[in-house]
């Protein structure tokens, strides 16, 4: 079983959903983001999503855009992100790591080489925002060969028939983009989620993570109960950004994010 399968199976036994915090690699610098990454499991992260900085994050709101810029300024490259995952795996071989980013850096690295290197580094899954099912053949075979899950995204605009098309060969888990919009802006209501999830579960037996617009402990709890996991990204980055001075980390940076993460985890576990 993959780390992702093992983790979701264990949580199912526990009878709760997962909390998936997000951090942008090298935001605001390599060491701080690695320190944060290493501390996240103890603070309640069940899986972790690492954003790969890209110059033109067209599906992201202002918070993650700014984080990506900070990451790039601090020298983030795809190779550096994999280095970070390798460093994390020295102390944690259980928490699943999913990379989320845009296609061009992967394309530039070389799809086959990237899938191989990512799996070697200890990455479990990848989410490529601008690679819909129609273009996924670029990575599919390489990912399968490397035992890397390509996490499929579905959205409120994905029709019932399209859900079957998109999720036919999905693996790992399914990421439900719960709003039509960019990250960190609007939120879906519990009622919206209650309506959407049965539609998705018709088309897949994989766990469903809900993301985009989840910021409070209450929202995280609701999403992790209606779905199988809640992804919290912009809210954590906002907290981190508020601790920076002149774009640099301070001694408050890591503790502030971890404290917020603990609050989210408590709600998901309550």
């Amino acid at each position: 079983m993959s780390r992702i399968q093992t983790r979701f199976a264990a949580l199912k036994k526990e009878g709760r959903g997962a909390l998936i915090p997000y951090l942008q690699a090298c935001d605001p610098d390599y060491d701080t983001s690695l320190e944060l990454l290493r501390a996240m499991p103890a603070a309640g992260a069940d899986l972790i999503e690492i954003g790969v900085p890209f110059s033109d994050p067209s599906a992201d709101g202002p918070t993650i855009q700014a984080a990506a810029l900070r990451g790039l300024k601090a020298g983030a490259t795809l190779g550096r992100v994999l280095e970070m995952v390798r460093a994390f795996r020295e102390t944690d071989n259980e928490t699943p790591i999913v990379l989320m980013g845009y296609l061009n850096p992967i394309d530039s690295y070389g799809p086959a080489e990237f899938c191989f290197d990512a799996a070697q580094a200890g990455v479990d899954g990848i989410i490529v925002v601008d690679m819909p099912t129609e273009e996924a053949d670029l990575l599919d075979a390489h990912a399968r060969e490397a035992d890397l899950d390509i996490i499929s995204l579905v959205a409120p605009t994905t029709s019932n028939s399209r859900l079957f098309h998109v999720l036919r060969e999905a693996s790992g888990f399914v990421y439900y983009v719960s709003i039509t919009g960019i990250t960190g802006t609007n939120s879906a209501s519990a009622a919206d989620l209650e309506k959407a999830l049965p539609r998705i579960r018709e088309a897949t037996s994989l766990p469903v993570a809900i993301g985009f617009g989840i910021s409070t402990p209450e929202q995280a709890r609701t999403a992790s109960r209606i779905g199988d996991a809640a992804v919290v990204a912009s809210a954590l980055i906002k907290t981190m950004a508020s601790t920076l001075e002149n774009g640099q980390a301070t001694e408050r940076t890591v503790p502030a994010v971890l404290k917020q993460l603990e609050g989210l985890a408590a709600a998901v576990r309550a």
Binding site: S58, L78, N104, I106, D130, S159, V177, N186
Partner: protein, 412 residues
């Protein structure tokens, strides 16, 4: 208006004009690299566009607006004084700057707005660089009473003030984008963010032959009216096709519009002129084909200015309309198969051509097409006097007089 085959009719087999394939690709270029949220909309748009193509009423409606509102056909002007000054090939101007709103942009916008209306969309978003596409979009939104939001880089808002004011007068909301260098690339990102957040009622009216399929194909089809007319007009004037066609390229819509009807006419050399900015090797350039490599941005695979890690680089050009690190995917393909050539012209050369054109022909060209003219000025003297060059004068330069004055050290 014309008896030549409609650019919207199905293309022939064994033709360079038959692309894209059913995945929206021209060779390896093009495609649909967008978030899943947008994918169903692109499929819906594709369907709506195919239905419009097949509907004679749509063609009739478009022809009506092109003739009586846009002012087509645009003339083909023999630039006699310029020809004499250059002392070589005969130079003709395709006068797209005479269209309503002052550029070729309205050809595409008119077509797409009719598609958007057929789809029942009530709000339009668009990106703009120089503001020509923004003005054209705001214009048709005023005409049809649709809500209109235009994203424009903050740098471009500053250097294209007259167009910003025009858009305001036309009732559009202009949103300056401060991300990145505040130019066309950033405006495109922001327009895509708006679209994804407002998918139910909003139509994204792309201004160039780039973006996810079917935009490159659709914009090309609507702009092909330029080349179709040139074919008829030059045949009437000279009894034959031109030897060379030259057009400036940012995203590449005016170039694709004039090139496409000639793709199967092997005797016609097609030359796209990219903005070299301060020089192709200065690091301050917008020449995506000359100095970029294939990658994925804004929904398509194409030549991009990018670093070795796949991060997109800022483009640089004196012309806001050419200041983009990518190019339409069909151009990338035409480059790779060798059917079209792509060359660079610097800011300085464009400024010089701008003044020559104004002085010899009494036509103030947009800085975009001044790049095309600068290349014409290089090659015309090397050609025989009975040879023919057609330059697409895609826009008028009134919007650029502040930029030009600034560079000439004149205070307005």
């Amino acid at each position: 208006m014309t008896n030549t085959p409609s650019p919207l009719s199905p293309p022939l087999a064994n033709s360079l004009r038959s692309g894209p394939d059913d995945r929206g690709r021209f060779g390896i270029f093009g495609g649909r690299f967008v978030a899943e949220t947008l994918m169903p909309l692109l499929l819906e748009l594709d369907e709506a566009y195919r239905a419009a193509q097949a509907d004679p009423e749509f063609r009739k409606e478009l022809d009506y607006y092109l003739k009586d509102y846009v002012g087509r056909p645009s003339p083909l002007w023999f630039a006699q004084h310029l020809t004499e000054e250059l002392g070589g090939a005969k130079v003709y101007f395709k006068r797209e700057e005479l269209n309503h709103t002052g550029s070729h942009k309205l050809n595409n916008v008119m077509g797409q707005i009719l598609v958007a209306r057929r789809m029942g969309k009530t709000r339009i978003v668009a990106e703009t660089g120089a503001g020509q596409h923004g003005v054209a979009t705001a214009t048709v939104c005023a005409l049809f009473g649709l809500k209109c939001t235009i994203y424009m880089g903050a740098t471009d808002v500053e250097r294209q003030k007259p167009n910003v004011f025009r858009m305001h007068l036309l009732g559009a909301e202009v949103k300056p984008v401060t991300a990145g260098a505040g130019t066309l690339k950033d405006a495109m990102n922001e327009a895509m963010r708006d679209w994804v957040a407002n998918v139910a009622d909003t139509y994204f009216l792309v201004g160039t032959v780039a973006g996810p399929h079917p935009y490159p194909e659709m914009v090309r089809d609507f702009q092909s009216v330029i080349g179709v007319e040139v074919k008829e007009q030059i045949t009437q004037a000279e009894g034959r096709l031109p030897d060379v066609i030259v057009a400036a390229i940012g995203g590449g819509s005016n170039a694709m519009g004039i090139f496409h009807p000639f793709l199967d006419d092997a005797s016609v050399r097609l030359i796209g002129v990219e903005a070299a900015g301060r020089g192709l090797d200065s690091g301050k350039t917008a020449a995506s084909i000359s100095r970029g490599r294939p990658g994925v941005l804004h929904g398509n695979r194409t030549y991009l200015l990018q670093d070795k890690h796949g991060q997109i680089e800022e483009a640089h050009s004196i012309s806001a309309g050419l200041d983009y690190p990518g190019i339409g995917p069909e151009h990338s393909w035409l480059n790779d198969i060798g059917r079209a050539e792509y060359v660079g012209v610097t800011d300085e050369e464009a400024l010089e051509a701008f003044q020559v054109c104004t002085r010899t022909e009494g036509i103030i060209p947009a800085l975009e097409c001044a790049h095309g003219l600068a290349h014409v000025m290089k090659i015309a003297p090397t050609m025989a006097k009975d040879q023919i060059i057609v330059l697409n004068v895609s826009g008028r330069g009134d919007k650029d007089i502040f930029t030009v004055a600034h560079h000439l050290g004149v205070k307005l």
